[in-house]
Symmetry: C2
Subunit: 147 residues, 2 copies
């Protein structure tokens, strides 16, 4: 039997979160955290609503998952996020020792890879999952803003 729990399956859920951010006028980035094929956190960017530069989807996902797990290390967790994490979020993921990060679109300017932010040596990174959908949503957001 085919495994339905692919990276694309979970990234679609992260994209749904990004759509919610879009509707709120937030830069549309969504994230979910998965343990054993179970979603334990769903978050989206809230920097405008909360007036807080630290309210990226990933930061909320880390805090929320740690709350759920009752411990601050995100072992056996996978973060799905629609956009490549920034320095801050990658730095937080470093501390969390998260097992795996799957992201959608690259952030060529402010992504952690360009910026050289270090992740925990145990963390696996996969990029480009549903990147077209994620970057399409970002383009649509900024085109709407310019109008």
């Amino acid at each position: 039997m085919e495994n339905i729990f692919t990276d694309a399956y979970f990234m679609k859920k992260a994209l749904q979160e990004a759509e919610i951010a879009f509707e709120k006028g937030e830069i549309p980035v969504g994230a979910i955290v998965v343990v054993d094929n179970r979603v334990i956190a769903r978050t989206h960017n809230l920097t405008e609503l909360l007036n807080d530069v630290t309210a990226h989807a990933e930061m909320q996902a880390i805090t929320s998952s740690a709350n759920f797990l009752g411990g601050k290390y995100l072992k056996d967790c996978t973060l799905y996020v629609t956009l490549e994490p920034c320095q801050m979020c990658a730095g937080a993921l470093y501390w969390s020792q998260i097992t795996k990060i799957v992201f959608g679109a690259r952030d060529e300017h402010r992504g952690f890879m360009k910026m050289g932010t270090q992740l925990h040596p145990k963390t696996i990174v996969v990029g480009g999952i549903m990147e077209n959908e994620a970057s399409e949503l970002m383009k649509r957001f900024f085109a709407k803003k310019r109008k």
Copy 2:
């Protein structure tokens, strides 16, 4: 007349916050944010109590200051923090466009300078203010933990 509002004057207040963290069994790092010689935020590391790797003193100071100011950019603000910020906190400070960062002790291993994290080009950084007091407190903490 001599200006009493020196960097050491404010760093002493950040050190008081670090002492509070110490008493709670947290890695003793404290921070304050100052605008026009007025303290608008006082925070200390709470990663153990909150079970949250993102609960560094600086992250809370950024959120708290933005709440106080009613805007997410920390213009005309100075952060005083007893230890050199990590990647995550430097990444958050980058987004905040904070005017000035003053830190106490260097973090040779996980500090943002060693890690190469980028701050906002407008941000001024001063290090080494009351560094002996700050690193003494850290040493005392880890010596106590080892016992």
